[in-house]
Symmetry: D2
Subunit: 362 residues, 4 copies
C-alpha cells in the first residue's frame, strides 16, 4: 500500500498520516520526492483496511500494491500445474493441447452419441455438454438434468472421453461430481463464492470460466477460493468479456492467456464458441487461441445446429471441427506442442459394445 | 425476428429463406425495399431458435425484435408495483422515497445498534447490514452469519426498522427469509438462476441488484426468474456497472432508472455507496439518484468507518447521512415525492426496552 | 513510480533494480515489507521513462504514482476558475448555473431564431447550435458552415445570448473564434492534439467535451494541452461514455463531476442530450446533473424535432425545456446555487430591432 | 427501419404510425404477429430520419435495419482489395502477409537506421516510425517533425522499405503525403472527419487505425469517409480497444478481423504493440493475429528499448522480432499464406551507398 501526498502537503500532514498508519498497526516509510512525498505501508498480513486514510488532510491518493492471491500464484508454486485423470492419458496444462468438444446442451442420447463419435474420431479427448443450462430466460430449455448426466456417463464408457459439464448450485454439483470428470463453473457463477467453496471440496478438477466482466485479479481470486478449500486442480477458461463491441456476442480477450501464464501456474484454455457467439468466427479464433499459447480449447459441435435447442448459432458442424483440428495441429507444432491425431478405422469401444455390459459404478 | 437480406440477394435466395422459416414452423413476411429485402418472422411463441438462418445464402443479418420478458413488463401490468410490509407504514415504489441505511457488514451488536439509532433518527425506515458477505478474497471477513441475522432482528424490534440483508445461496436464503424483511440478491448473483428461483418461492420481497455488466434486458430477465416462481415483490437496484472509467470503483448508471420505469412496473432504487466506492461521492450521487426519479436509496453508514471490517472507504459518517437526508428531502419535494422526516426526542422503543421482553416469533 | 518486487526476489535482484534506477538518473528507495520489497523512485522531472525496468529479474510490477497534469490541477491553483464574458453578466463556474440550449445543428435562420426566442424566455444565457457537424456518415447533413455562424452571430445581437459552437479543424476554428463566444471541441476531437493546441492560442473560452472512452486523466490532460498554450478558460463537459449498456446511446457518468471538482479548478458541465440520446431521459438526467453539482448544462432544444436534420430524437420541445428550467431552478437552490429566471413580457432587443442597425464587425 | 409496436397497441395506433411514415415520404408495411405488430419502412434513400416516431402512442421501439456504408462494402465490390506500390513487389491484402516494423518514434538517424537494417534482414518490407507523435501529455516528446520524415525517406532509399508514418492534421498530412508511402491515421483521429476527407484526397494509401472505442460500423464509416473522396486504397488496423480489463493497456479484439472480412473488401492488419502495451505479450498476440487471418502486422521494434523516448515498454528487441518472423512464417503457411523470408548476406543498397548519390526530391 502506498499513500501519495499532495504536492504541497505540509510536514505536519505527512507526519499525521505516518502516525495514523502506525496506529493501524503497520509501519510507515516516507519517501520524499521532488514534487511530492509518498508513504509506503508495510507490516500487513493480508489486505490493509485503510479506513479513512484517503481522506486525511494532504493525501492525494492511496494505491494498493500487494496482490491478494496466494495459492494460484507463481510466488507459491513456480512449475506449471498439470492435471491428470485416472484411466486416461489425457492431461491439461502439459505439452498436449486439451480439446473439449460437444454440444451446448445434451438434448437426447442420440444427439449426444452422434456428436461424441465425431469428436472422438477427430481427436478430442474431452466431451462437453450441459445437463444443467443457465439460461437468461426462465422460459428457455434448462437442460435434461440427471438424465443428461447419465447420457454423458455412457459416452465416457463408450468412447473413453472425459466428461466436462456444468454445475449451477450445490445440489447439481453433487450430481456432477458423481458423474463427470471435470466440474464446470460457468461465467455467471464465477463469483458465486458459496459454489466456489463447494467446488473446492470436490474430488474432481474444476473448469472455472471467467466472468463476463471479471478482471484478471478477480479470476485468480475465484480460483483462490476453490484452492483455499483444498482442491488444487483448477483450469481457467477465457470465454469472452463484455465490451461495447457489437460485432460478436462477447469480446474474446486472448491477451489474458499470457497474462495468466506470467502470474499463475494454473492452465488456461479458451472457449471461442461463447467467446464469439458466431459459427463463422469460431475457427479463426480457435486457431488464434492455440497460437497465443492456450493450454486447450472448449468448442461447441452439433451434428444438426439448425435443430439445436440452444446456441445453434455458434456450434460447428462436425466437418468444420475436423478441419479445425487439422489446422490447430499444425499451429501447435510451431509452438512445440501437440494436438492428438484423428482416429481412423473402427473405434474400439464401439465394437466391443461395452455400454451394455459395463458394470457402471455410478 | 427480422431477416435482412444482402443488397443483391436473388429472388431464389429470398424464397429459400422464406421456405426455411416456414419449415421452422413460423410465418415469413417479405418486405422488398429499394436497396434490399427484409423478411419478418411471426407466429412464434417465445423465442425463435433461428438455427443456421443467418448463414443461408443471401442473408446479411438476423435481428431479434421481440422482448423476452413478460411478467416484469408494463405490457402485462401497467400500474406501478408498490411493495408493502406488515406492521409498518413503509412502502417501496409509492410516493415515499425508501431509504435503506446501515453498515456494510454487521460486525457486532454494539456497532449495529449505534448505526441503527442514528439512521432511525435521520428518518430511514429500512436497515441494511450484511450477515453473509460475498468477498473477492476468501481470506477477508465473511460476515457473522446467523448471529448477525439475530442482531438484525433485534434491531427491528428495538427501532421498528425493516431489515434488508443479503442471501448468498440456498442455505443462507432460508435463514434470511426467516429473519429479514427483504431478501437481497447481490450483483455477483444476479444471474445465479438457481438462487433466483429459490427467491421466487420465498414469502418476502426481494431486492435484486444489477450485475456488474448486466444489460437492462438481463436485469429484467433476472427479475422475471423470480416472478416466474410466484414472488411478484421485486425491487430492482442500480449499483454501478463496470466500465473503463477508473475514477470511481464502478460507474453509476442513473439513466437505467427512467429506462426501467418506461418498460417495467417494478420499483428501482439506487446504491451510491457501491456505485461509487468513495465516500466523497456518495452524497452528490445520492442527490442525483433522487433527482433522476429513483424510488429509494440504499446507503452505507458507519459510526467509525476507520475501523470498519469492510468497505470503510465508502461508508458515510452519521452526520453526513443526516445532512444527506435533509438535501434529498428538498429534492424529492421538487418531484412531488416525500422523504420521511427526522425523529427528534426519545425513540419510543428504546424507552420501553422491548428487546428483552419481546416474545420474538422468529 | 513504484517498483514492486516478487515475493521471493533476492537481495541481488533488489540491488540490481536500484542500480538501474540510479543509472536512469533517479533516486531509488527500497521499502522491505513482510512479503515483498517495494522500491520508490524519486528525482524525476515529468514522467519517468521506465524502459525495461518491468522485465528485470525479480520485478513483479511497476506502478505509476505521479499525475502528469499541472496547470489544470488544484495543486497549482486551488480556487475555482470562473469564466466571464465581455458585455454579459453570465458566468461559468461561479454560483450561477450556466444553461446552454439550442438545436443540434443550425438548419436555417427561421429555425434558429425560433428556438433562440424560446430558450431566452426560459432563462438560458447561452445558445448552442452547430454550424460544422461531425457526422458518422459522410452522406449526412454536415452543417451550414460560415452561413450558420452568421446566423448565430445575429442571434447574439438579437437576443443577447452567448454563442457556443463547434470547431472541427484549424480552418473552422478560425471562423468559430471570430463569430462565437465559446469554442466547442467535440468528443471525437478530444485527443486531436493539433486542434487542442490551436484552441490554446485562441482568445475565446473553450468548451472541451469528454471523449467517448476518455479516462478522467485523459480529459484533464486534453485540457492541459489547451492551457499549456496560454488559454486558461477551459470548461469541461461530460457527455456520456461508451459502455456495454444499450438502453441509452451513451452512459452518462455523473460521478466524474465531483471527481473533477476534487482534482481541478476548472468548471464542468453536463450534456444530457448526447449523454442519453433519448428525449425522454434528458429531463431526469438534467435534474440529476444539477443535483450532483455540475456548473451547467448543454441541452438540445428544437421547435419541431420531427423535422430536425440531425439528432431529432434527443431534442427537447420548448415546453419541455420550460418545465426543465423550473425543476432545476428548485434543485439548484438546494445546493445554494441559482438558475436564471424566465423572462416574461417583451424581449428588449426584439423591440429595438437592433439586428438591422447594429454595425456588426463580423 | 422497423417500428415495433407494443403488445396491446390498438389498430388506430398502428394506422397512425403507418400514416406518419407515409407522411415522411416512405412506405409502411404492417406485419401483424401473435403478440405484437411490427411495421417495416422502405422507400428511403440513405438514412431514415425518424423524428418522433419512437414516441408515438403504441410504439415500443424503432430498430434500424440498413447499414449506412456503401463503398467499403462487399455489396459494392466483392473481390478483396489488394494494395500495390510503385517500385516494390510488396502488397497488402493479397497472399503475402504485410509486415510493418520499426520504432515508435524516429528519434535520430542512427537509431532509425539501426532498426531499419534489422527489420529488413528479418524480412519486413514496410518501415514504421513516427515523425509526429500524438502524446497524451503536452510535455512529452512530440516527434522530430519534417526532420524525421527526411530520415524515413533516406531509409526507403537505403533499404527499399516502404514508409508508414502518421499524419496528425492537414499540415502534417501534406508533408507525410510527400515523404511516405502510406499515410497513417491514428486511433485518436479515427473520427477526425476533416482529416479523413483530406486523406481521401491524397495520392497515397491510408492506414486507418480503429479508435479506442469504435464499433465495427464506425470503423467502416471512417473508411467510407476516405473512400467517398476518391481514395480507395485504405488499410484498416485493429490496435486494441478500451475495456475494463487492466492486465493490458488495451484489449486486442482479434474477432474484428473475420468480421471485417465478411462485410468489407478492404484489408485489415493488427497492431499487437499498442494492442497490448507490454513487450511480453507482443509475440503471442502477433502469432494469434496471423492465425486469425489478418493481412499483416504493424510492430514496434527498437534496438535499445531502455532508452526509447516513447513506448519503450512495448517495443521488441531485434532478436525477438527475428524469432517472431520465424514463428509467423510457419503459421501463415497453415493458412496458405506467406511471410517474406529473411535476407542473409550483404544488403544491396548498403553496398551501393545509394543514399549519398540519389537525387532525392524529398
Amino acid at each position: 500500500m502506498l499513500v501519495v501526498m499532495k504536492a504541497h502537503a505540509s510536514e505536519t500532514e505527512v507526519r499525521d498520516v505516518c502516525e495514523r498508519i502506525q496506529k493501524l498497526g503497520y509501519r510507515a516509510h516516507a519517501i520524499p520526492g521532488a514534487q511530492r512525498t509518498a508513504i509506503g505501508i508495510t507490516g500487513n498480513q493480508g489486505e490493509v483496511e485503510i479506513g479513512t486514510l484517503e481522506e486525511m488532510s494532504g493525501v492525494a491518493e492511496v494505491i494498493r500494491v500487494s496482490k491478494p492471491y496466494k495459492l494460484v500464484s507463481r510466488d507459491v508454486k513456480d512449475t506449471n500445474t498439470i492435471i491428470r485423470f485416472p484411466n486416461s492419458d489425457a492431461t491439461i496444462g502439459g505439452n498436449e493441447i486439451a480439446v473439449m468438444a460437444g454440444p451446448c446442451g445434451v438434448e437426447s442420447r442420440d444427439q449426444a452419441f452422434a456428436v461424441a463419435e465425431r469428436v472422438t474420431r477427430a481427436g478430442a479427448k474431452f466431451f462437453r455438454g450441459g445437463a444443467y443450462k443457465p439460461r437468461t430466460s426462465p422460459y428457455a430449455f434448462q437442460g435434461l438434468g440427471v438424465q443428461g448426466l447419465k447420457i454423458l456417463a455412457e459416452i465416457r464408457d463408450q468412447f473413453g472421453l472425459l466428461i466436462v459439464t456444468e454445475a449451477v448450485d450445490h445440489e447439481t454439483l453433487d450430481y456432477v461430481e458423481q458423474y463427470a470428470d471435470i466440474i464446470q463453473i460457468g461465467a455467471r457463477n464465477m463469483q458465486n463464492f458459496s459454489l466456489l467453496k463447494r467446488a473446492g471440496r470436490a474430488n474432481k478438477p474444476v473448469l472455472l470460466k471467467r466472468g463476463m466482466s471479471a478482471t484478471l485479479e478477480e479470476l485468480l481470486m475465484a480460483a483462490e477460493y476453490i484452492m483455499s478449500e483444498g482442491n488444487y486442480n483448477v483450469i481457467l477458461c477465457e470465454r469472452g468479456v463484455r465490451t461495447f463491441a457489437d460485432h460478436t456476442r462477447n469480446t474474446l480477450d486472448l491477451s489474458i492467456v499470457p497474462a495468466v501464464q506470467r502470474l499463475s501456474h494454473l492452465p488456461i484454455i479458451v472457449d471461442p464458441s461463447h467467446g464469439t457467439g458466431k459459427r463463422n468466427k469460431v475457427t479463426p479464433l480457435s486457431r488464434a487461441a492455440i497460437a497465443v499459447g492456450a493450454s486447450g480449447l472448449i468448442i461447441e459441435v452439433h451434428c444438426n445446429p439448425d435443430e439445436a435447442l440452444s446456441d445453434g448459432l455458434q456450434s460447428l458442424y462436425p466437418e468444420q471441427f475436423d478441419q479445425l483440428m487439422g489446422e490447430i495441429r499444425q499451429i501447435a507444432a510451431v509452438l512445440g506442442r501437440e494436438v492428438p491425431g484423428p482416429i481412423t478405422g473402427v473405434l474400439p469401444n464401439v465394437v466391443a459394445g461395452t455400454v451394455a455390459t459395463t458394470a457402471n459404478p455410478r
